[in-house]
Amino acid sequence: MAILPEALAAALEVMLALLLLLMALACLVDRYLRRACRSFVCFAVLMALTWWQLRAPWLAAVEAVLGALLTGFSLFFALGFGAHHRLPRRDTLPGASPSGVRSWLLPLTWWFMAAAASLLLVDDVGTRLSEALAVLGPLALVGLAIIGLGLWGFVRHRHLLRRLLAFNVLGSGIFLVLAEVAGPRIEAQALILTGLIVALFGSLLGASLIRRLFILDGRLALGSGTGGKE
C-alpha cells in the first residue's frame, strides 16, 4: 500500500466508491434477476477491495469468501441455477405502494438521519459542510448513498430475491459507514465481521426459503396469493 502515492490512493478510493455505487444501483434496479445477482457479486468483490483499501485485510478476505463467493452462490441457488425449477428470469411484479417520488420519501428522510448523524460525528465544532464532507471521505458518502438505495430497494421491491439483494446492499452500506465513522477500531471490525456472517447466514436462509417457497407454490413475494398478489 505504501508504495502507492497518496493521490493515487485517493483516486483509487474515489473510483472504488463510484464503482460501488454503480454496482449497487445496477444490482437494485435491474429486473433481470440473474444479472442483478451478478452485479451483486461484483459489488461484493468491490467491497472486498474496499476493505483491502481500508487496511483491513482480514475483512477483505472474509468479504471475498462470505460476501462474494458464498452469498453469490446462495443467490444463484435461490435462482435455481442448474436445477429443475428455475425462478422466472425477470421480476414482473409491480412495486409496492407507495410508488413514484413518495416511495423515496421515507428512505430519503432516513438516509438524511444517518447522514446527519455521520456528519455530526465529525462536525462537532460546526465546521462547514464541505469540510465535513471532505473529512468524511468518499467511501462514507457512498456508504450513505448505498444505505439510501438499499432502503429504497427494500421498501419498494416485492420480489423476495430482490429484497434479499437490497438487504445485502443495505448492509454493506452500513458497514462502510461504520468503518468510516468508527475508524480502524478493532470493535468496528468485529462488528462488521459479525455483520458479514449474519448477512451470509441470512442470505443462505433467505435463499433456501425463496427456493422452497417457489417450489411449493410458485410464490415470489410475501402475501397470501401466489405471485405475490396482495
Binding site: A117, L121, L170, V198
Partner: protein
C-alpha cells in the same frame, strides 16, 4: 452507578468454577442440540435427563450469585474485550430461559413423536433450539454492544431457521417475512451501534453510560437502535410478522419464541434506554403509548381471531404492550415509582413467559389431539381433554392478571406505580387490557364447555407433554405468591445512579 462499581472491582471477577458454569450454560445447550441432531431423543425422560446438567449449573449459578452478589467477566479475543455481567436480573432471566427451554425441549420430544414429524427436520430442531438458548444466554449476560449483537443475531437466525422446519408454504412465507424484518431490524440496530461507536469510541455498556452524553448523535443512535429492536420485539405497529410466525411454527418453537425470543429484544431496548436516554420522558411516553395501542390492538384482534394459535399470538402482541409501560414509568419518575415499575415489569415478563409457553403447549395438545385448530371446532373438548384445558386456564389466569399469579402481582405493582406516579392513562390501559384479555381468553372456555357440540375423535397424547405445560403454568402462578425473593434480587437495579 452500581454496575460500574462492580466492573471496576477485580475481586468481583468470576471465579474459574463460575466461568466453567457460565460456559456450560452458554454452550451446553448448543452442544446437546448438536448431539441430538445425530441421536434424536425419543423419550421425554431422556431429554430431561440430558438437560439436567445445564439446569443444575443454572441453579448453582443462581444460588451463588444470589448469595454473593453480582459478578462480571471479561473475555479477551486479541485486542477485543467482551464484557459479561451477571447480576440478579441476568441470573433470573437465565433461570427463566433454561426453565422454559427445558420444558419446551421435553415437550418437543413428545410433540415430534405424536405429531409424526418428518425425522430430518425434526432432528434439526435440537441444534437450533440449542443455538437459540446460547444466543439468549449471551444476551442476558452481555455487558457490551458487540456481545449483545452476536447474541441477538445468533438468536434471530436460529429462530428464523426453526421456521424452515415445518416445510409448509405458510410457515415458509412467515419465516421469510420474519427473516427479512429481523435482518433489517438488525441493520438498524447496527447503524445505531456504529454511530455510538463512532461518537464515544467504546461498546461496553458501563463505559458508554459513563462517557455518553445526551446529544444529537446519541439521540439519533438510540432512535435507530430502538426502531430495530421494536421491530424485532414486535411492538405495535411493527408486530405484523408475529402472528403468522406463531401460527405456522411448531408448537414448542412458538412457545419458546413467544416466551423468550421477543422478550430478548425488549430487554435490550429497556437496558439501553435506561443507560442512554434516561431523561427522554416524551419519547418514553411515546413508547408507552405504542404499548397501550398494542394492548388494545392485540386484545381486539385476539378477540376476533378464529384460530387458536392466532388467538394466542395476538395475545402476545397485547401482552408485550404492558411491558412497554415500563418506559414511561421508569424514565423520569421518582425513585419509589421506578422501583415499583421495575419490579412489576420483570415480574410481568417472567409471568408472561411462563404462562405463554404453557398456553402454547396446551394449545398444541388440543390441536394435536383433535386435529382441529379453530376455536369453534374445539367445542365440547372439556370433557375429553381436561388437562390441556386446565393448563390453558391456569395460563390464562396469569395472562389476565388475576390472582394468584405473577401477572396479578405484576399488575398490582404496575398499577401502584402508575397511581403513585400519577400517570392515570396507564391505569386505564391496564384495566382495559385486563378486560380484553379476559374477553378473548374466555372465548376458549365458552366453546370448550359446550356440551351440545358434535363429538370429535381424539388422539391420546403422552402425559408428559401436558405435565410440562402444567409445570410452567403452575410456576407462573406460584411466582405471583413468592415474588418477593426474585424481586429483591433485582434490587438495586442497573438503571440509574
Amino acid at each position: 452507578m452500581n454496575a460500574l462499581a462492580v466492573l471496576g472491582d477485580e475481586a468481583l471477577h468470576l471465579t474459574p468454577s463460575l466461568w466453567a458454569v457460565v460456559w456450560l450454560i452458554v454452550w451446553g445447550p448448543l452442544l446437546l442440540g448438536l448431539v441430538a441432531l445425530y441421536f434424536p431423543p425419543h423419550r421425554m425422560l431422556t431429554a430431561a435427563a440430558a438437560y439436567l446438567p445445564v439446569m443444575a449449573a443454572t441453579g448453582w449459578l443462581v444460588a451463588t450469585i444470589a448469595v454473593s452478589g453480582p459478578r462480571h467477566a471479561s473475555l479477551s479475543l486479541g485486542e477485543l474485550t467482551l464484557t459479561w455481567y451477571l447480576d440478579g436480573l441476568a441470573i433470573l432471566l437465565l433461570l427463566l430461559t433454561q426453565t422454559v427451554l427445558m420444558a419446551s425441549a421435553v415437550f418437543a420430544v413428545g410433540y415430534c413423536r405424536t405429531a409424526e414429524l418428518p425425522s430430518r427436520p425434526a432432528a434439526w430442531l435440537w441444534p437450533l433450539l440449542g443455538g437459540l438458548s446460547s444466543g439468549l444466554t449471551l444476551i442476558w449476560i452481555a455487558a457490551d454492544l458487540l456481545s449483545l449483537y452476536v447474541g441477538l443475531e445468533l438468536m434471530g437466525l436460529c429462530a428464523v431457521a426453526l421456521m424452515l422446519l415445518p416445510g409448509e408454504a405458510e410457515a415458509l412465507a412467515a419465516g421469510m417475512r420474519y427473516l427479512l424484518y429481523a435482518l433489517v431490524g438488525s441493520l438498524a440496530w447496527l447503524l445505531g451501534v456504529s454511530l455510538l461507536l463512532g461518537a464515544w469510541g467504546r461498546l461496553d455498556l458501563a463505559g458508554l453510560a459513563a462517557v455518553a452524553e445526551p446529544g444529537a448523535v446519541t439521540t439519533l443512535a438510540v432512535a435507530l437502535l430502538s426502531a430495530g429492536l421494536l421491530l424485532k420485539a414486535s411492538i405495535f405497529p411493527l408486530h405484523a410478522w408475529l402472528a403468522p410466525v406463531h401460527g405456522a411454527a411448531w408448537i414448542p418453537v412458538s412457545a419458546v419464541h413467544a416466551a423468550l425470543v421477543i422478550k430478548a429484544s425488549f430487554v435490550i431496548l429497556l437496558k439501553l434506554w435506561l443507560l442512554l436516554a434516561p431523561g427522554q420522558m416524551a419519547a418514553a411516553w411515546l413508547l408507552g403509548g405504542l404499548g397501550s395501542l398494542a394492548v388494545l390492538w392485540g386484545g381486539i384482534l385476539a378477540w376476533r381471531a378464529q384460530g387458536l394459535k392466532e388467538l394466542v399470538a395476538f395475545s402476545t402482541v397485547g401482552q408485550l404492550g404492558y411491558l412497554m409501560l415500563a418506559f414511561p414509568l421508569l424514565i423520569g419518575t421518582s425513585e419509589a415509582v421506578a422501583a415499583l415499575a421495575w419490579r412489576g415489569t420483570w415480574l410481568h415478563l417472567a409471568g408472561h413467559a411462563l404462562a405463554k409457553a404453557a398456553m402454547f403447549m396446551a394449545v398444541g395438545s388440543l390441536v394435536l389431539s383433535t386435529g382441529r385448530s379453530k376455536l369453534v371446532e374445539l367445542a365440547g373438548t372439556s370433557r375429553r381433554l381436561p388437562l390441556p384445558l386446565l393448563v390453558f386456564g391456569l395460563a390464562a389466569v396469569t395472562l389476565m392478571g388475576l390472582p394468584p399469579s405473577a401477572g396479578f402481582t405484576a399488575k398490582w405493582l404496575l398499577l401502584q406505580a402508575a397511581i403513585r406516579g400519577e400517570q392515570w392513562l396507564w391505569i386505564g390501559v391496564l384495566v382495559l387490557g385486563t378486560m380484553l384479555t379476559a374477553a378473548y381468553l374466555f372465548r376458549m372456555f365458552r366453546h370448550s364447555f359446550d356440551e351440545q357440540a358434535p363429538h370429535l375423535t381424539y388422539r391420546r397424547l403422552p402425559l408428559g407433554m401436558d405435565m410440562m405445560a402444567l409445570l410452567l403454568a403452575l410456576a407462573a402462578l406460584a411466582l405471583g405468591l413468592v415474588a418477593d425473593w426474585p424481586l429483591e434480587l433485582l434490587w438495586p437495579w442497573g438503571g440509574r445512579t
